[in-house]
Symmetry: C2
Subunit: 232 residues, 2 copies
């Protein structure tokens, strides 16, 4: 994580050397004032907690985490966002969580429209913003249930199923996932420590529910039914 704050200043980051094989500049409509494409390196900050919330972001490629730090360094990751999702929607004038690139990321940044416009304009974008806010609310609520009442094993099982579903766009046929995030991200998302996440994954492998290849961020779901049973 190098120059954190530069993220926002480089608004129209042309270079895009780090741009993965992802969707490029896009169409004139978007280039013409509606949205600007921007790229971020792994671990780069997209916005910080407390930054003015002047835009929201549509994720074109890569994975983003939104999180908050407590005064003593404890961290809670509120959500992961994958390609196609919108993040950065706020009620107040400031971002209440920071957003960071988990992997190299390309986004389209849209100028934020005030709430009154949002609830009264009838463009498809306004509709999408409202829908996204409600989806994020749903996820945050489900996440609270997980954090408040599930065991470590249940948390990890829920996480694996959820990631598999989102990354494969609800196609249940695939049984392998390539996690873009480190164990520490998983731990801070699930309210656990990295050691517990690791031990739990090892346990699942011993129980033949998953397989952990040498590249430890690849996980093969060998027994989704068992995972679903653990899903509580």
């Amino acid at each position: 994580m190098q120059t954190a704050l530069t993220a926002i200043d480089r608004t129209f980051s042309m270079p895009i050397a780090t741009e993965n094989a992802a969707p490029q500049p896009r169409f004139a409509a978007e280039a013409a004032g509606i949205g600007a494409t921007r790229s971020f390196a792994k671990d780069e900050e997209i916005y910080a907690e407390g930054d003015p919330a002047t835009r929201y972001y549509k994720l074109i490629s890569g994975v983003v985490r939104t999180c908050k730090l407590l005064t003593d360094g404890r961290r809670q990751i509120e959500a992961f966002h994958v390609a196609g999702e919108i993040f950065g929607i706020e009620r107040s004038a400031e971002h209440r969580f920071s957003a960071e690139a988990v992997s190299p990321v390309t986004v389209i940044a849209y100028r934020r429209c005030p709430l009154e416009v949002l609830a009264s304009s009838d463009g498809p974008l306004a509709r999408q913003i409202v829908a996204t806010a409600l989806l994020n609310l749903e996820r945050a609520q489900e996440h609270a249930v997980l954090l408040g009442r599930k065991s470590a094993m249940e948390k990890v099982a829920t996480f694996l199923l959820d990631m598999a579903e989102r990354v494969h766009h609800h196609d249940d046929a695939f049984d392998a996932i390539e996690l873009p995030m480190a164990r520490s991200d998983i731990a801070d998302y699930l309210g656990l420590t990295i050691e517990t996440v690791s031990r739990t994954l090892t346990q699942l492998e011993r129980d033949a529910v998953i397989a952990l290849p040498a590249a430890r961020r690849n996980i093969v779901l060998r027994n989704k039914a068992a995972l679903r049973r653990l899903n509580a």
Copy 2:
């Protein structure tokens, strides 16, 4: 503990204590899009998880909890709602949490408008719905941080400050709160057990941070600064 909540709770509670699960009355008002007043007794269910989400509710008096049960009976309370707040907003066709009256409750039920209408109609109500969804999102996110990363002591401190602020409408002058909910509700909201909630409150009293009168649901905040320090 009778006199406590009644001030707020009784506000509109005319008769209807027994008009339970049968929400028939429905006045011409609702048909006209204005909303119908309904009352619920303590612990009565306003809607259940899985019920069709055909309306949302504005809370006139009393306190409501929205919660979810895991298969084995573990419960997570997602939020408490107090007078003036709107709850029951959903993205999908069904309620994903149940809503129950913590105290006697009066609400106005509004017919739900579809998402497209919400994002395109410009009445003040649509605006309020969107604003409420965003507020609930904020709270759910903050709640996730609490559930995932705070200690029992920090959770209770946060809860007391939060309830004091909401019940007194952000007027910091008051230092006593009359909690409408049982210890079990607090525990299921904070992801703790009732024993831990009780022990933590006792500890706070020993430390002269709060006082616990004979009516145990009244709590006097003797040292808000100390609570804020615990707020992490």
